[in-house]
Amino acid sequence: MNNWSWEYVRDILPDLLQGLWITVQATLYGSLVAFALGLVWALLLRSPSRWVTWPVSIVVEFVRNTPLLVQLFFLFFVLPGWGLTFPPLATGVIGLGLHYSTYTAEVYRAGIDGVPEGQWEAATALSLPRRRTWTSVILPQAFRRVVPALGNYVIAMFKDTPMLAAITVAEMLFRANSIGATTFDYMEPITVVGVLFVVISYPTSLALRALERRLVR
């Protein structure tokens, strides 16, 4: 039975905060990949040709229904064999971005589908060109629905970043684990990491809910 030691916490905190910075980087870059790639999936899935929508939907469903951890292992161990060598963090960002793009694709789809039919009809009646229909009518309205949902997936991604520890990215959990392995005292490092996650993700989700109330009426 050991006692909680604040001194120990103070010793390990700088190391863990460095890990937090890597966690934040992975989340930010990962979300950029997910936002961009998700839009690509969403637009491809709206294609009129079945030869496009079928393969894309199979890829999207496959990535969404299989574990991120295994996908990370796949990227980490298989890509170098194909001559693509990335640093672990970049592999992690690709994995996170690819996995969450299948969720953001669904968000974009729901956002675009949520725009009332009458808006499309009005655009046709005004004989707006296709491009203006999208940029001035549909997307601005879809945007309001999409932003809070995308934010939720950023938080979800943030909470999935500890998986990157498994592919040797030195983020928080990885550091907590190696501290524990040297001192044989896992209590403080892992507890601090867990609390840091709550301390960051809870206020962020509160802020998002406030944003949602403001944007979605």
Binding site: L69, Q71, Y202
Partner: protein
């Protein structure tokens, strides 16, 4: 791929399924317990269950699993890996599930509740005979999504050296060196499990909806309509009503 490797994989699938079933059972208990507690009349019950939900949704399931496995023994409770995995997954997905339960219970038309009160049902009868039969069918599609998330979560247990599918893949990779094949095969195996789970949940949904005279939503072979936010409160609207 030799027969011995396939044997390894199927052993892994079996443990993955076990882990999923145990965690799902725990998560269901937590989801109903906490979800109903959040509709309680007492503010302290609502508050405490709210704290539970926000805490477990706010932290990462993998960190929780590591905490249960590495930190808890220092307080004197040594958990076997399987239990640490089950507990971590059950507690955190239970927190997500409780939001589904709460949303579905609150979406039952108020007149139904009032009618049950007028007929002087006890609170327990009200819940069991009036509220839940109408709420449960609405819960099944979001539960399906959560179950798939839970299945994906079981892969995390491989990091505690539990011999589930991902762990077996690691062993197979070390012994054969064929990473692409090994990980390709187990991704497909996970996909097949997810597909079977979705089929079973669809069947349950169809039955539950038929029992109260509703038709299930039309949906394709694969796609489960995702709730737009995994994190935020589940918005379930009555037709034409505000969330």
């Amino acid at each position: 791929m030799t027969g011995a490797l396939w044997e390894l994989f199927f052993k892994g699938v079996w443990i993955t399924v076990q882990l999923m079933v145990y965690s799902a059972a725990l998560a269901a208990v937590v989801a109903f317990g906490i979800g109903l507690a959040r509709t309680s009349r007492l503010w302290i019950v609502r508050f405490l269950s709210g704290v539970y939900v926000e805490f477990f949704r706010g932290t990462s399931a993998l960190v929780l699993m590591f905490w249960l496995f590495f930190a808890l023994p220092l307080l004197g409770w040594q958990l076997a890996g399987m239990w640490a995995g089950t507990l971590a997954l059950g507690l955190s997905y239970g927190a997500y599930g409780s939001e589904v339960v709460r949303g579905a219970v609150q979406a039952v038309a108020p007149a139904q509740r009032e009618a049950a009160i007028a007929l002087s049902f006890t609170p327990w009868q009200r819940l069991r005979k009036v509220i839940l039969p109408q709420a449960v069918p609405e819960m099944l599609p979001p539960f399906n999504n959560l179950l798939i998330e839970l299945l994906k979560g079981t892969a995390l247990a491989s990091l505690l050296s539990i011999g589930e599918l991902t762990f077996q893949a690691k062993l197979a990779r070390l012994s054969t060196g064929q990473s692409a094949q090994v990980y390709g095969i187990i991704l497909v195996l996970y996909f097949v499990i997810a597909f079977v789970v979705t089929r079973i949940m669809r069947l349950l949904e169809r039955r539950a909806k038929a029992s109260i005279g509703r038709a299930p939503e039309k949906s394709g072979w694969f796609s489960r309509r995702l709730p737009i936010g995994k994190q935020g409160p589940q918005v379930i609207t009555a037709p034409g009503g505000k969330p």
